[in-house]
Structure formats: structure tokens, C-alpha cells
């Protein structure tokens, strides 16, 4: 096997590194997203239940958008874990199939796994659930642009796009 640089997801401190990345996101902090574990490239995140994030005041069930953001976040983290060196990722697309609504009052977990990463694109699948992935709330399939700043300064793609 060719000796390349180790994966970003390798090493003992990967959990701390990815946790720092997740804490860095203001929306993640506002939602209270937490990193639970990284195991064999699989990234498990959690969103603690809060009535403030309900999509329906009567049922108190999490809004779909909360699950969308959780899935997008853990998918992005799984793409980073699969890289040789950390780079900015940007979601190309995200498809979510809803099996059922989340249970009211319960924390929701999401586990993501990057099953293919190339020079430009990472493909990631994820499952959202309360207790076990077999009893899923939602399945997600997503593609991420890897090195979305293409070696240019971060945000270079925004130039010429000014109002």
C-alpha cells in the first residue's frame, strides 16, 4: 500500500479536532449540536431535544429543518474525517427521505459515513434516529465538494458575486 499521509480521521485526537470544528459553527452552537463519537470513519452527532425547535407547537416534534441541519452537519464532518488533510467542504446536494416524524421530547442522533472520497467530491450517507439506526427517522445521501476553495483564499469564489 502506498504510504500517503495519514487520514485526518486517524490519530487519537480526531474526536477533539472534529468536536472543535463543530463548535466553530454558530448554527451548530445555537442548535446545541454535539459530537458523540467517531468510530471507524463513522461520525455520530446528537441534538438534545428542545421545545423551541419544534415544527408544530401541539406535537412538540422537531421541525424537519432541524433534522436537515443535523444531517448536513454530520455528513460534512464525515467527509472531513475521510480526508488526508482537513479542507473546507461545501454541500453540493443533500437528499433526505423521511421514514417517520421524530419522537417528541427525545434527543435525535445522526450517524454519517463517507463511503467514497475523490479529489473533488465526497459521497456521504447518514441516518437519523433516537435509539437505533434500524428504526430510522430519516436517511440522507449527500455529495460534498472537497477543497471547495480550490487552493485559493477562502471565500475567493464569492468575489465578483457582490451585490
Amino acid at each position: 500500500m502506498a504510504a500517503g499521509p495519514p487520514l485526518y480521521g486517524a490519530g487519537d485526537d480526531v474526536f477533539e479536532r472534529v468536536r472543535t470544528m463543530m463548535q466553530w459553527t454558530p448554527q451548530g452552537r445555537a442548535l446545541g449540536l454535539e459530537l458523540v463519537r467517531i468510530d471507524n470513519g463513522k461520525v455520530l452527532g446528537r441534538i438534545p431535544y428542545r421545545a423551541q425547535l419544534a415544527g408544530d407547537p401541539e406535537s412538540g416534534i422537531f421541525a424537519g429543518g432541524v433534522i436537515t441541519t443535523l444531517l448536513d452537519q454530520v455528513c460534512g464532518m464525515a467527509a472531513v474525517v475521510a480526508m488526508r488533510e482537513p479542507a473546507v467542504v461545501a454541500t453540493i446536494d443533500l437528499r433526505i427521505d423521511y421514514m417517520r416524524p421524530a419522537a417528541a421530547g427525545r434527543d435525535v442522533f445522526a450517524e454519517a459515513h463517507c463511503y467514497k472520497i475523490g479529489k473533488n467530491v465526497a459521497f456521504v450517507r447518514a441516518i437519523a434516529f433516537e435509539d437505533a439506526p434500524e428504526n430510522a427517522i430519516a436517511h440522507a445521501a449527500s455529495a460534498f465538494m472537497v477543497n471547495s476553495n480550490s487552493g485559493r483564499r477562502i471565500g475567493a469564489n464569492l468575489r465578483g458575486n457582490k451585490p
Binding site: P26, A30, G65, T68, T69, D93, R95, I96, D97, N157
Partner: protein
């Protein structure tokens, strides 16, 4: 404010998550526009800064659900079956808008498309298409 608009504003105001995001609605005829003023808590990448993709997706899903309720004259929001979101541009730290178009309402399933933009409608930052379970009060009426 028309009666429909008032009912709609009340329905959205009752959604806790819409309040968390800071969404407001405007209805012209039967066409809805949701507006999401910029807030620091909506940012996904503070370096750019760029809005979190999940927030942009959530805005479009809320728009799709609300527009579907208006178009189908339903008192209830539908359940989401699936959504596909394509991200086209970084969401910049400014106000974001979204509109949705109901492509088809069948007996059980509705097909809806939505898009989100910022400065220029002709340059969407993201688009969404989704399938939704038609609310019971609509399904019974058309069966």
C-alpha cells in the same frame, strides 16, 4: 392584512422553529414569500461567513410546506416524504428569501419546488424539490 394573510402569519408564528430562525411571511395573492433576516446564529462557516446549508434547506422546506397549505386550502401542514436540496452558491450574511411552486397535488402526494435567493432572484443560492403527504382534509375532499 387580509384574512388569509392573518391566518398564515398566525400559523407560522405558532411554529417554534420558525421563531428560532427568525422567519417572516408575506403573501401576495396566493404567492408566499418567506424572508429570513441575517442573524449570527444562522452561520455555518464563520470564516466566509456563509449561512449553514441546513438553515437554507429549512427555509425552503418551510416555504414549500406553507405554500402547499395555501394552494391546497388546507388548515394543516403536510408531512414531508422526501426532499432534495441543491446548493448553488454560498449563502452570504444578508437577508434570504424563498418562494415555492406547487407542481402537482395528487390524491395522496404533492410535488413542490422551492428556491432561495438573496440579492437577485435570478441567482438562487439553493433550490429544493420535495414530495409531501397531502394533508387529510385535502385528501378527503378530492377523493
Amino acid at each position: 392584512m387580509s384574512e388569509t394573510h392573518a391566518r398564515l402569519a398566525a400559523a407560522l408564528a405558532r411554529i417554534p422553529y420558525a421563531g428560532f430562525l427568525g422567519v417572516s411571511a408575506e403573501l401576495k395573492g396566493d404567492e408566499l414569500t418567506l424572508s429570513l433576516p441575517y442573524g449570527e446564529h444562522l452561520v455555518g462557516n464563520p470564516l466566509l461567513p456563509a449561512l449553514h446549508g441546513g438553515v437554507v434547506g429549512a427555509l425552503m422546506e418551510l416555504t414549500a410546506l406553507t405554500q402547499l397549505a395555501i394552494t391546497s386550502k388546507s388548515e394543516h401542514f403536510s408531512k414531508t416524504i422526501d426532499i432534495g436540496i441543491d446548493f448553488l452558491r454560498s449563502g452570504r450574511p444578508v437577508e434570504t428569501y424563498a418562494r415555492a411552486r406547487v407542481i402537482k397535488i395528487g390524491r395522496r402526494i404533492a410535488n413542490v419546488q422551492a428556491e432561495a435567493w438573496q440579492h437577485r432572484r435570478s441567482e438562487p443560492i439553493a433550490v429544493l424539490h420535495g414530495h409531501f403527504l397531502v394533508a387529510d382534509d385535502v385528501a378527503n375532499e378530492s377523493s
